[in-house]
Amino acid sequence: MVTINNEELRETFNYLETIDNILLKEVRQVYGNKSYLDKIVPEQLVRVYSQKVKTAVTFADNLTRTAYENSIVTLVATFERILFAKYKTSYGSIKSVVANYAVKPLNFYKSRELFVNGNIDKLSGIIYLIEGHLSSKLLEKLKVIKDHRNYIAHGKRDSAPPAVEMKLHDIAKILDEVIKEIES
């Protein structure tokens, strides 16, 4: 049982875990009875993959793998949305403090604006921003998740995959810990 504190992340994780659970149950059925696959695939795929046991279970494996990869991208997207919302809010407060109290705020103002609204539009930017505020262990795990997400999202073309894939609940837990650290 995993406890995810952030409401938005928890909600996304709950949906993804439910999809995962449904898939697990359905795939088990396919393993016992290859024709079961015809009950869950779209009409045009009926009898396409269900003729041989090996083809049916291979299809089921690929289905599970695709769902897992999509879940990683979705979880990280939710995490990014939460973090960017936080940084935009912080930026708003900083902007007014600087405008009211700084003598010559222009340079800081500009760089800050560029920093938050311009360059930092990706998870790598967020990591750059929070480096030093997280424990090295947590940061290392976050980087592994980021690399894994990029590997999937960029078509497995331009980066290496992680040696071992984390479980979905571990990824959610790590992302939740990062949010907690930033909030504290």
């Binding site: 279970v57 291979t58 089921a60 599970t64 793998r65 497995k156 290496a160 995959p161 992680p162 040696a163």
Partner: protein, 156 residues
């Protein structure tokens, strides 16, 4: 430290930072996969195959990966009785922490899956690690015993 030692240290650092020759790396990776598959089929599980308890098939597969590009390799399919299939599938010649990765899993049971990782020791040697989870405490050196133990666990 004497000058010679310092120069040697510098040379070593330079070698470590040098980009590998990816063509040579790719060949080594392909050979390592083939060696592992041969070890499993003809050394570790030879007895089981002779008694008809396992059958092996090498299914050719083409991969296209970052750094090493396109290459041909094979998935080792192990068929047990009662339509149970095990697959040893090459995934990537380069990973973030290791020097290549295969996945070993039972078809139709996504929770029955481990990573088999290659760690290069030097130009001529490498070792295989079996990783059950992300936690490094769950990483063991791969040998016949560990491999058998794993399959035994999955068949329970």
């Amino acid at each position: 430290m004497a000058l010679k030692e310092k120069l040697e240290k510098l040379k070593k650092l330079n070698e470590q930072n040098k980009e590998p020759d990816w063509e040579i790396y790719k060949e080594a990776w392909k050979n390592a996969i083939a060696d592992l598959q041969d070890t499993i089929m003809y050394k570790w599980f030879d007895d089981y195959a002779e008694k008809g308890l396992m059958t092996f098939a090498l299914v050719p597969t083409k991969r296209n990966e970052p750094y090493i590009g396109e290459y041909l390799t094979a998935v080792l399919e192990i068929t047990l009785a009662e339509n149970k299939f095990l697959a040893l599938e090459p995934v990537s010649g380069v990973t973030i922490e290791y020097d290549g990765k295969l996945e070993f899993y039972m078809r139709g049971n996504i929770d029955k899956k481990v990573s088999i990782l290659r760690r290069v020791i030097n130009e001529k040697e490498h070792e295989w690690i079996i990783a059950k989870s992300y936690d490094s405490k769950d990483h063991y050196k791969l040998d016949k015993l560990e491999f058998e133990k794993l399959i035994e666990e999955w068949l329970q």
